[in-house]
């Protein structure tokens, strides 16, 4: 893992946000969060329902304006008067929850072209981007001329993902990209996102509920609880806080539970294993049971 901690893709500086400020249903969604999202890696954002994850990531591209604090993208405060918020949205590509419901154009390829067209791209460059984005998200070329309402759910999800990737954002943010997909679909879409990160060298933020998914695909993890970031570290270190995670209504991956159980039985492989492969390596390293 070559983690480029020097390069910072985006940063929150003490941001807060309250919904329905001033009326009866006031709700503090984000409470003075400071967080640096590093470049060239996949960052996972986990937290129980209502912990403020979605609000926080909507701040990254200016869909939500923080009441307090600053959001820094590419070294500039996105709410600076000189910054056009649309330009920020081209740099930070946001794929919302259930993005398949935002498809609207007559054909899949035209829908994918919507973002780049808004950026002012046309002609061959536009075609190239659409084709490339479709390839990245695993869309069959012969689907491109179909109506987005005639393709299957999983294909719609990929088309919506392609629509954001086609803008080549330097930071790709996805809100539960695998929600509602079957296991094969989950693996496929998350694998493609990871692949996109590796090949393009851009940064990715994934919001998820699934501990298995973030364990497998994320280099760093941020844990949110009641509007605050409570843990932010490399994935293995975050999962070594099993007790705290469970207190917040979250969990650890199954293999971490196995490791915890093993430790209780006297076989200490460490409480920070989070993938099966890693657990096996640890066991071999410690007890030499490999051969």
């Amino acid at each position: 893992m070559n983690l480029n901690t020097e390069k910072c893709a985006a940063e929150f500086r003490g941001v807060s946000f309250t919904y329905n400020k001033g009326i009866a249903y006031e709700k503090k969604a984000v409470r003075s969060v400071s967080l640096k999202i590093y470049g060239g890696c996949v960052t996972g954002l986990i937290g129980s329902t209502g912990s403020g994850k979605s609000t926080l990531i909507k701040m990254l591209n200016g869909l939500v304006k923080p009441d307090e604090g600053e959001v820094i993208v590419d070294g500039t405060n996105i709410w600076d008067k000189k910054v056009k918020i649309r330009d920020v949205r081209f740099k930070v590509g946001l794929v919302m929850q259930y993005p398949e419901y935002q498809l609207f154009d007559e054909t899949v390829s035209e829908d994918i072209a919507f973002g780049p067209k808004n950026m002012g791209i046309s002609g061959d460059e536009l075609k190239r981007r659409v084709a490339e984005a479709a390839k990245f998200s695993g869309l069959d070329p012969d689907l491109l001329e179909k109506s987005p309402f005639d393709i299957s759910g999983g294909q719609k999800r990929r088309a919506a993902l392609a629509g954001v990737i086609a803008m080549t954002p330097s930071l790709l943010v996805l809100d539960e990209p695998a929600a509602g997909l079957d296991p094969a679909g989950r693996r496929e879409i998350l694998g493609r996102i990871k692949n996109y990160q590796r090949e393009s060298g851009n940064s990715v933020v994934i919001v998820s509920h699934s501990m298995e998914d973030v364990a497998k695909y994320c280099d760093r993890l941020a844990v949110m609880n009641k509007g605050e970031i409570v843990l932010y570290d490399e994935t293995d270190r975050v999962f070594s806080h099993g007790e705290e995670l469970r207190d917040m209504g979250l969990d650890v991956p199954e293999i971490t539970k196995v490791a915890e159980e093993l430790a209780r039985l006297g076989v200490d492989v460490g409480n920070d294993v989070y993938t099966v492969k890693y657990a096996a390596e640890r066991l071999i390293e410690k007890y030499g049971l490999g051969k």
Binding site: K58, N61, L63, R86, R89, F90, G93, L94, V95, M96, P99, Y101, Q102, L103, F104, D105, F114, G115, N118, M119, F149, G163, V164, M167
Partner: protein, 278 residues
């Protein structure tokens, strides 16, 4: 995007206004509208205003919420106010207050404008106090269905209409939320809804409207299936969980509004004060 629409904004509470039978409240608000237009002179307006204020106090709804409900009609209020200031002269031979270029303002004009604007304010505040703020949308359609049920005898599908209304009301917040989500998603792809010419802005709505329609149809389909699964077959032979029962206080409420109207007519007739010009 801000949705400040005070549509069906029910304010939870347990005041006498909240507890009235929805049928009584529908009749009361209709009569109240008549009352508002009956008021002609300053004394009548004073009575009507104090009556409405008394209702506001009784309902225990915060004044701030009431004022917010007036926000959408501010433009209409200003417009009618300004028009009336310039157009009404009052009695023949009255002296103008201002006479400059094409603008002539008479004292009667100002008073007239004030009363007209007051009429709009009372109309909205009063009806929302009796109906929308204190009645749940469900109780409202329920009451309407019962009030209109005699029409079922002449083959008017009253139950179906009220069901359609209930469903429509139920889905307004859902659709507002959905619209917000889709707009956010398209904004994230660089769509802009507040720039460019009118045609350009109208075109910018296509990426919002198409998914919104698609999801509405999907929802309608799902709802129909869910209703069929629970053996819904229309209004015939359906019983209700909450049967509306009119009590003394419901009749009293209607009578109070009628009495208000009578007193307004009497005040118009027997007191001598400035009256609306038309």
């Amino acid at each position: 995007m801000n949705f400040d629409v005070a549509f069906g904004q029910y304010c939870e509470g347990d005041s006498i206004l909240h507890r009235l039978d929805p049928r009584a409240k529908i009749i009361m608000s209709l009569l109240y509208i008549v009352d508002v237009f009956l008021a002609k002179n300053v004394f009548a307006f004073a009575l009507l205003t104090s009556f409405t204020v008394a209702m506001a106090v009784l309902s225990r709804i915060k004044p701030r919420i009431l004022l917010r409900g007036l926000k959408p009609v501010i433009f209409i209020m200003i417009f009618t106010g300004v028009i009336n200031v310039f157009w009404y002269r009052g009695a023949e031979g009255a002296k103008p207050l201002v006479d400059w270029w094409i603008f002539t303002i008479y004292p009667a004009g100002i008073l007239n404008a004030v009363l007209i604007v007051l009429r709009v304010v009372l109309l909205i505040a009063g009806t929302s106090l009796i109906l929308t703020y204190t009645t749940t949308p469900l109780a409202l359609t329920d009451g309407l269905e019962r009030l209109l049920s005699p029409l079922a005898k002449i083959k008017v599908p009253v139950h179906e209409f009220s069901l359609m209304m209930t469903i429509a009301l139920r889905f307004i917040p859902t659709l507002i939320e959905e619209t917000g989500k889709i707009m956010d998603a398209q904004k994230a792809r660089g769509a802009s809804f507040s720039e460019g010419s009118l045609v350009k802005r109208a075109k910018a709505l296509i990426p919002v409207l198409v998914p919104l329609f698609a999801s509405s149809f999907r929802r309608a389909d799902e709802l129909a299936v869910a209703m069929e699964c629970r053996c819904y077959r229309g209004g015939k032979g359906r019983t209700r969980m909450n049967v509306l029962k009119a009590t003394f206080k419901d009749f009293a409420g209607v009578i109070v509004i009628i009495l208000l109207g009578v007193s307004l007519v009497l005040l118009n007739k027997y007191t001598d004060a400035f009256a609306l010009g038309f």
